[in-house]
């Protein structure tokens, strides 16, 4: 009990240690530093803005999700496309196979 009272007293002292404290003051020449920095620091261009947004986790993960989704769609979709393509290829060969013999070889 005594120990806990002691702790509370100690903690209260720490908790209230910033009472009546003054504000910290920055070093002089802040205005000069700001003016100099303002003059040299150029405003963010388009690429900086793009990289700023792309590095945000929410945007990055959303883009990643869409890339993965696009991949899934492409992978599941190409199976059907290949099937169709092979169909088309068969059609091509069946229709054009005779046309090979139509070409006359004119060289002796």
């Amino acid at each position: 009990m005594k120990n806990s009272d002691e702790f509370e007293l100690w903690a209260d002292g720490i908790y209230n240690s910033m009472n009546q404290a003054h504000r910290a003051i920055p070093s002089p020449f802040l205005l000069t530093r700001v003016l100099q920095s303002n003059a040299t620091k150029k405003k963010d261009g388009g690429w900086e803005m793009i990289s700023y947004w792309l590095t945000k986790p929410l945007v990055a993960f959303t883009i990643l999700f869409f890339v993965v989704l696009l991949n899934v769609v492409l992978i599941t979709g190409t199976g059907n496309m290949q099937f169709k393509r092979s169909d088309n290829a068969n059609d091509y060969f069946t229709t054009s196979i005779t046309s090979i013999y139509d070409v006359d070889n004119i060289t002796p």
Binding site: F7, A11, S37
Partner: protein, 185 residues
């Protein structure tokens, strides 16, 4: 906390010099209490004033200037903390690949604290370092900057109830951290 009165000004025609003169102590003290490093706090102060100066014309005056500047300061501090975390993670990778130099946390001493309370305030800031960012910011704004719940709610864009509950959690967490320190003594 002694509050330096903000001089009455014409918001339409305010020079950078006047802006800095009015709010430099407020911005620096807030940044210093959050990041606990003088050089970093000065860099943040500088960045805050550049942003304030550049966005002054687009500032919609929906909130008080003081609230707006506090908001920019808090955001800059959060950005700074994120940057530090990223550097720390990079440091972990570096250590993994052979660089074994470890970074010791520096004991922070607030320059405005009364001399008889310096040791106590050091312990307070040490415990504050271990709080989650949002709780630390609310604690600093309330206890060190002396803002009320309504002002903090405006700055952070959250409800008063949220400020109140976070404040309670901050105090509970702080007591826990202090208990651990007390047991070590």
């Amino acid at each position: 906390m002694n509050d330096k009165k903000i001089a009455p000004h014409d918001p339409e025609n305010l020079s950078l010099e006047k802006m800095i003169d009015n709010w430099k102590d407020m911005v620096f003290n807030t940044a210093l209490s959050i990041v606990q490093q003088t050089q970093d706090a000065e860099d943040i102060t500088q960045e805050v004033f550049i942003q304030v100066y550049r966005q002054w014309e687009t500032f919609r005056k929906e909130s008080a200037v003081k609230t707006w500047i506090y908001r920019i300061t808090v955001n800059k501090c959060l950005d700074h903390q994120q940057k530090k975390k990223r550097q720390k993670n990079g440091g972990l990778l570096k250590r993994f690949f052979g660089d074994h130099t470890t970074e010791e946390p520096v004991e922070f001493e607030h320059p405005g604290v009364l001399s008889e309370r310096k040791e106590q305030s050091q312990l307070l800031f040490k415990a504050l370092q271990k709080l989650p960012e949002s709780q630390r910011i609310i604690f600093v704004l309330h206890k060190i900057e002396g803002l009320n719940q309504g002002e903090i709610a405006d700055i952070l864009g959250i409800s008063r109830m949220a400020v109140e509950s976070k404040m309670k959690r901050a105090k509970n967490n702080l007591t826990e951290k202090l208990k651990m320190m007390y047991e070590k003594f």
